[in-house]
Structures are given as C-alpha cells and as structure tokens.
C-alpha cells in the first residue's frame, strides 16, 4: 500500500524488520485464528464434502436439487439486501441527527439509549412484541383498523431485523460522522454551496467507509440471523440460516446443514469483497494532525432537520411502545386474562435463572476485553502493515462472523469435542465462540477509523525515536480508542444476547440467559420470558452505559488533541 512516507519509501525495509514486536503479535494471532477459526471450519467442510472417505458434491447437490432450499437462498439475499438498505438509511438518519443537529445533550442521550434497546435484547423477544402488535388480530392493526396485513413472512422478518440491526449501523455511522472535521463542511458552506449540496458532495462521500461498513455488517447480520425468521418467517418465506438450523435440529442432518451454510457463505464473501474494493481505493483522511480548531456544526436547513427528527422520533416512539409491551408482559400475571400486577415472574428469574445470569456475565466479562484487544491488533496490522498474509489474516478474523452462528456452533462442537483440543463443556469454548465471532465489528471499526487517520502522525512518533510498540500504544491506540470501545460494546452486547452459535455450546456447567429465554418461549412461559428479557436488558444497559461513557470521553479527548495539533 503506497502512502506518503518519508521513512519507508527509500529504504524498502520489510515491515517485520522495522517492527520487531510484529512477529510475536502475528504468531499469536495466527495461532489463535488457526485453532478457533480455521480448524473448526475445516472439520465442517470435511463433513460437507467427504462422503465415506471420498470427496463428493453429493451433499451440496442434494441441497441445490431442492426447490425449497433454492427459494431460501434467493429469499436470504433479498431479505439481507432489504434489511441492510433500510437499516443503513435509518442508522444514517439517526447518526446525522445526533452528530449534525444541535440537540440538547439529554435528548441525544435519550435517542441513543432507546436505539440500544433492540440491540440489547434477544431478537425473538422483540419479535413477540411485534407479533402482538402487527400479527393477526394485533393491537396496532385493531387500533388503526387494518385488516389482512400479512405479517408472517417477508414483512414481519424485514421489520424485526431492520429494527434489531439498525442500531449497529447507527453506532458505526455516528463514530464515522463525528470524526469528520466540520471545517470541511464549513468550507463548502462558505464557498456558497447549499446545505444539501454540502451534504451530497462532502459529508456523504466522507462517510462512505462508514456506510460500506454498515451495509456489510447489516447484510452479514441478516444473512446469518436465524432467530428472527425462526419466529416470524413461517413456511412461506424460507431463508438459508433457518433452513440450515432446521436441517440440523429438525432432520438430524448435520451434512445437509453444513452444505446449506456453505451456500450461505458465497454471498457473504461476495459482499466482503465488494466492500474491500469500494472502500479500499479512496482516501478519507480527515484527522491529519494539521487541522486548525474544529468549529461547531452549522444548521442544515429547517425542513431537512424537521424531516430527520420526525423519522427519529417516530421510530423511537415505536421502539418504546414495543418494549413497554414486554415490560407489561413481565409484570402481569397472565397476559390478557389476569392483568393484576405481580413480582412473581421476576422472583422466578432470580431463583431459577440465577445461575444463567451469573454464567452469562462472567463469560461476557472475559470475552469483551480479550475481543477488544484482538480487534485493535488485527485491525491495526490489517490497515497499517500491508504485507503478505495480512489480507488472509483479516479474512479469517471475519470468517466466523460471516458464517451463520448455527454452523459455527456445530463446527465448534465437532472440532473441540475430542483430543487434541478438548473444550466442550468449558467456559473457554463459549468465550472463544463469542470473541472470534463478534470481534468483527471492532476490527471493522478500527480499520474504518484508521482509514481516517493519516499515518504521518505515527511516522512522526517513529521519527522522534519511539519504538513500534510504543508508537502503537501511545499514538495509534488512543486515536482508535472510540472505535475499540464501540467494538467492545458490540461484543459485550452479543455476549449477552446472541444465541445462534452458543446454543450448541452451552453445557450443564455453563448456561446462558438467552437460551433460558428461548426455553421459556418454547415452554410457553411467556411472562417469565418477558421478565428474563427485562432483566437482561437492564444488565446490558448498565454495562453499555459505562462503555458509552468511556467512548464519549475518549472521543472528546481526541477532538481536543486534534485542535491543539
């Protein structure tokens, strides 16, 4: 990768020689990737393509022969496209409101807090609230007098997934938008451009890495989500991850499930390649160390602001309404039959669910800092130290994320249930599953924010005599701290709420809150499921509030330093 560098250009020293710390770091990353990403996937592929000791396409062929599975493939792409589009648009609107419109800080906090609700609750919980509202005989349908709305299928799944995943887009885009130097926009305005033109020609192009990032994350999330379609898609709108799950758990067909997930891998990789191509070729540096002090953001025009805020408030109100349904469900004795208030459901959670709560918190507490560290190292090497193998490293770091969770779970069970690496039934396997699956957001964020930071800042440190590790910890890390914290928050939330991979990895020793909620749902304990969800949401909310506070603190520090630069 060519960049303006006074140090490396003339000498052509290999990056390994220049940074002695790189070798042990690379070795550690490659070993852990080999064990927790490559090896399980390899075992899974062997299961897909080896039939009785022979290489064979029989398993894949069987899948492609089925009209239902072909339909599922197309539906998955269509759904993921629709979700990533709608989610990114919504996320951008929210990010724009929070970073560009002068709102009172409590209102910003409030908008941010409400959008985390869908993110920090397991998807099937909001699915139930949506079903009660918009499903057959739903509350909102009755209220608005709508009949014959076919909720089960595409519409319900699309709505639920968009609501669940747009906060990811919001978090990603808010980080990127707030990092764009407002002086650039001001320059456009003072040169006489209309606010709309400045947005089109300055703000939007500069946020491209964030948009690409968001589209990729949402596309992959939707592509891999099995819980939402499980509850909402029904038989008329099959999607691949649910089909893979059904194949494994319903038909006891691990090979068929593996083959289905192989199909799923192709579009995921396609999006990944597209994203590399699209974002990788432009220069988005806006923190260069040479800027003057940052000015405040100017008004963007009343109509545009009103429209943006209108959308935000409508969506926020809808989310609040959905979650008050869940709170209500947790507090009443029997929904719709006996509406008297009771604490009984919460008592159940803190007696029958205490072990699950403790286990989940311990796992999240271990996985989050480890995943954050991994993200910053991988992201840094991938973006700054381009040489042989870094692209492969980045690819393998993302692989578990691109694979549907069900498949990762089954692959882990196959790989780690026998020697040489015996891990089933331990906490390690759960921590590893979460870490290597959900540090992807952190890596993406680190890469995106490094895209915006001119390498000359690091080179200045190096030319003043600091070693590579010192430069990394003293210069690079502080600059990407908001991105890392964002990634850690994402990781923590998923440790608390994700289910698709880990449902196969929980054991009698280590259980999880999400699996308990799903159990309550399948066992018809609706009120208990709601109470579990409320407790889970409060726990995650408390923990993420701390991480958000840290992010804000770190962002402010960077802006301040940029000003002095």
């Amino acid at each position: 990768m060519n960049r303006p560098s006074a140090l490396s250009a003339p000498e052509k020293v290999s990056p390994l020689k220049r940074d002695p710390a790189l070798l042990p770091a690379l070795a550690a990353i490659w070993i852990s990737l080999a064990v927790f990403v490559l090896y399980p996937v390899l075992r899974l592929f062997l299961m897909t393509f080896m039939v009785e000791g022979q290489f064979s396409f029989a398993n894949l062929g069987a899948v492609l022969d089925s009209w239902y599975d072909r339909q599922a493939f197309l539906n998955s792409l269509w759904l993921a496209g629709a979700v990533s589009f709608a989610g990114t648009v919504l996320g951008y609107i929210y990010a724009f409101a929070v970073t560009r419109i002068p709102l009172p800080s409590w209102l910003k906090w409030f908008l941010g807090a409400v959008t985390t609700l869908p993110l920090i609750s397991p998807p099937f919980t909001s699915s139930i609230a949506l079903t009660l509202s918009l499903g057959p005989n739903g509350i909102l349908l009755k209220f608005f007098g709508i009949e014959n709305f076919s909720f089960y299928g595409f519409w319900g799944t699309w709505m639920s997934e968009t609501l669940t995943y747009f906060p990811v887009s919001f978090l990603t885009l808010a980080a990127v938008l707030s990092a764009i130097d407002p002086n650039l926009e001001d320059a456009g305005l003072s040169l006489g451009a209309s606010p709309g033109r400045v947005f089109r020609t300055v703000t939007l192009p500069l946020s491209t890495p964030g948009i690409a990032n968001s589209v990729l994350l949402l596309f992959a999330s939707s592509l891999a989500d099995f819980a939402t379609p499980l509850v909402l898609a029904g038989h008329s709108f099959p999607v691949l991850p649910t089909q893979a799950y059904l194949q494994i758990t319903g038909l006891y067909d691990l090979r068929g499930g593996a083959a289905l997930s192989f199909l799923l891998l192709l579009p995921a990789m396609g999006v990944y390649a597209l994203q590399r191509f699209w974002v990788g070729r432009k220069n988005y540096v806006t923190i260069s160390g040479k800027t003057g002090s940052r000015s405040g953001f100017k008004s963007k025009g009343k109509l545009a602001e009103g429209l943006v805020l209108g959308v935000c408030f409508a969506v926020t109100a809808f989310i609040l309404y959905l979650y008050s349904l869940i709170l209500w469900g947790a507090l009443v004795k029997v929904w719709g039959v006996d509406n008297s208030m009771t604490w009984e459901n919460f008592r159940y959670v803190f007696t029958h669910g205490r072990k699950a709560i403790a286990d989940t918190l311990s796992i999240a507490a271990v996985a989050t800092p480890l995943g954050g560290l991994m993200a910053v190292v991988v992201g840094y090497i991938a973006q700054r130290k381009r040489f042989f193998g870094t692209r492969a490293m980045e690819f393998f770091s993302m692989l578990n994320y691109a694979l549907p969770g069900t498949v990762v779970g089954i692959a882990y069970v196959i790989a780690f249930n026998e020697k040489p690496i015996l891990l089933t039934g331990t906490m390690t396997i759960l921590v590893a599953a979460y870490m290597f699956r959900y540090h992807a957001a952190g890596i993406r964020a680190v890469i995106a924010s490094l895209h915006q930071i001119d390498p000359s800042i690091e080179e200045a440190s190096a030319s003043l005599g600091a070693g590579a590790a010192r430069t990394f910890f003293r210069v690079t890390v502080p600059l990407v701290v908001p991105a890392v914290l964002m990634g850690m928050r994402y990781l923590f939330i998923h440790c608390m709420t994700a289910i698709s991979a880990t449902i196969f990895l929980v054991s009698v020793k280590w259980s999880l809150l999400t699996t308990r909620i799903l159990e309550c749902m399948t066992e018809l304990q609706f009120a208990q499921a709601c109470a579990f969800s409320v407790v889970l949401i409060l726990l995650v909310f408390g923990a993420t509030a701390v991480l958000t506070g840290l992010t804000r603190f770190a962002t402010r520090r960077i802006s301040g330093e940029g000003g002095r630069g």
Binding site: A21, G135, T249, K509
Partner: protein, 332 residues
C-alpha cells in the same frame, strides 16, 4: 513490546485452558422434558437418592444433534423426556447404552425399546386446542373431527408445527396416515393448508397464539395444550372422533456415560411406581406408562378418546419420506 507480548500470552493462556472433569456422585443430563417439569423430577430424585443432577433443557432435535456430536466425549450421562422416535434415530447413531431398568416389568412392551435402549415414562396424545372467544364469535362448537378444521371459518386461523422441525407435526402426519391412508392423508393436508396461518418451528409454538386469540385453533400434544389451559387462557381442548396417535416420552442412558451407575439408578427410579405417582401428584401432564397408578386429572382420562396405535419403528422408517412429501405436496 513486552507489554504487548504479555497481553497476547495471557490471551492464549485463556484460550487454551481446558475444562475440569466432572466430580463423582453426580448425574449430568439433557432434558427434552420442559424445564419446569424436569426440575421437579430431578429434585425428587435427588431427595430420594442424594445424587446431585446437573441438567440442561433442549428441543428433541438439538438434544439429539448434541449427543451425536459429542459421541466421542459424552458431556452428559442420560436424556430425560422427548419422543421415542428421537431415541430410535439416536440408536442408529450408536449413542445409547442398553439398560433394562428395574421397573421394566411394570411397563408394557410397546412402551419400551426392544433392545432396552430407551424406556417410555409417559404417553401424550395429540389434541385440538381452540380459542373459545373465536368459537363464540363464529357460533361454532369445538372441532370434533379432522374435517371440522377444513371449515372456511378457520381460514387463515390455524397454527400448527412444521413437519421439518417438530415431532408434534410428524405425529400429526402419522395419525392422518393411519386413519386415512397415505395418499388420502396428504390430500387432506393440502386442503388443510388453505386454512393455515403459519407453521411454527416448535411443537408448542402455536399454542400461545391460540391462547392470545391471534390464531383460532391448532393441533398440539396434550402436555402443551393443558399447560395453556391451566395458565387460565380461554381455550378448549377437544379430540377428533376419527382418532389420534400419541407420542411416547422416553428416557435412556448414553454410551460412555461417566456416571453410569447413577444414570442406571435414575432409570430404575423413572420406571418405578413412585415416579409415575409423582407425575400425577405434581400435575405433570403426561399419562404414565405404568398401569398401576390412578390418573386423577379428568383431562388426561382417555377412556372416551379413540387412540391410534403407531409402531415406533414404523415411525422412524417413514419419517423422512413423509416429511419430504409434506414439503413437496402440502406447502409447495
């Protein structure tokens, strides 16, 4: 640099940590029986034997997928609950250990595995579960025949399980095939499909929508239907006059169990009269396989219900063909 190394070394250390072994005097189990019932069953077992039980609840498909995947290093010693056909599928994978429990003689042969791989502890027939408000609105009686569900009044109102994922759904197909013959059974389901609102992934998944009035009616195992009724929802349970088949809830020991003796003790206990009485006393809605306990819940009195006997081996042999036919003929 050294700091980086230390951090990464600790990262690897955590990553390579392996789990500890299970202590003795314990029993580890997967349960397919709902947690709220299983916790009572295991509590009673611990009270009687002093053996501590660690357990985890899964759907039948997941539990089977897990024990098959864990075959070379079993994490648990036994499975409690779940339909006998799941156990039959597991026998093919070689995951079960044969054991003839002490109380086997009290349980009819048809409720036990021929090779003693599993023992039936309770039976659960299929029932119709219908929302009473829906019936009142439409001026209908509770459905009393499979054909009643074809009434256009139920259009877009039925929720029942998807045959690809749910044992409840395959049980429904077995019932229909035994009553109507195979071709007729699929012709019937094609007609029934006109009234379907959604096929749910889990067997009980449609019961809550029926309870909430989002769906009108559906076909469920009695254990789920009674649960909903006992919670106080406005629902009615009825049986088709043509008959229904029933599932056998089983239990069995896994091959390679680390606490084999304790697992066998559980099998002995689960096949005893004490256990059957426990099901009745705790209102766990299975009908005990042992004939020597009196079922007190009138809802579980099946003397007026026409039950269709379906051989478990036949179920296992036909399952895949029926599911394929269901996908290609009914829902296409």
């Amino acid at each position: 640099m050294s700091r980086l190394r230390v951090v990464i070394a600790s990262l690897l250390l955590v990553a390579v940590m392996a789990g500890g072994a299970f202590a003795s005097g314990e029993l580890n189990a997967y349960t397919i029986m709902p947690e709220k019932y299983a916790s009572q069953v295991f509590e009673a077992f611990t009270a009687e034997t002093g053996i501590k039980v660690n357990f985890m609840r899964f759907s039948s498909g997941e539990a089977l997928a897990r024990v098959v995947a864990e075959k070379n290093n079993p994490q648990v010693d036994m499975i409690l609950g779940g339909p006998a056909d799941t156990y039959e599928a597991g026998i093919k994978e070689g995951v079960f250990e044969a054991y003839r429990p002490a109380g086997a003689d009290g349980i009819p042969d048809k409720f036990r595995s021929k090779e003693n791989f599993w023992t039936g502890i309770g039976i659960i027939p299929l029932v119709f579960l219908t929302n009473t408000k829906f019936l009142a609105d439409k001026g209908l009686e509770a459905p009393a025949s499979w054909n009643d569900l074809l009434d256009p009044a139920y259009k877009n109102g039925l929720q029942m399980a998807d045959a690809r994922t749910s044992g409840t759904a395959t049980e429904r197909i077995y019932s229909l095939v035994k009553i109507l013959g195979e071709d007729e059974a699929f012709a019937y389901q094609k007609k029934l499909h006109q009234n379907i609102q959604m096929y749910t992934k889990s067997g009980a998944g449609g019961a809550m929508p029926v309870a909430m009035g989002q769906a009108a009616s559906g076909i469920f195992y009695i254990v789920d239907a009674l649960d909903i009724q006992q919670q106080g929802h406005p629902v009615v349970i009825s049986y088709p006059k043509e008959g229904v088949s029933f599932g056998i809830e089983a239990t069995g020991v896994l091959k390679g169990a680390r606490n084999l003796e304790n697992a066998k003790k559980f099998m002995d206990w689960a096949s005893s009269k004490t256990f059957a009485q426990l099901l009745v006393d705790r209102k766990i809605n299975y009908i005990p396989t042992r004939g020597d306990v009196e079922v007190t819940n009138p809802a579980l009195d099946l003397s007026k219900v026409s039950l269709v006997e379906v051989d478990v081996t036949w179920k296992g042999q036909n399952r895949k063909a029926f599911v394929d036919r269901w996908i290609n003929e009914v829902i296409k």
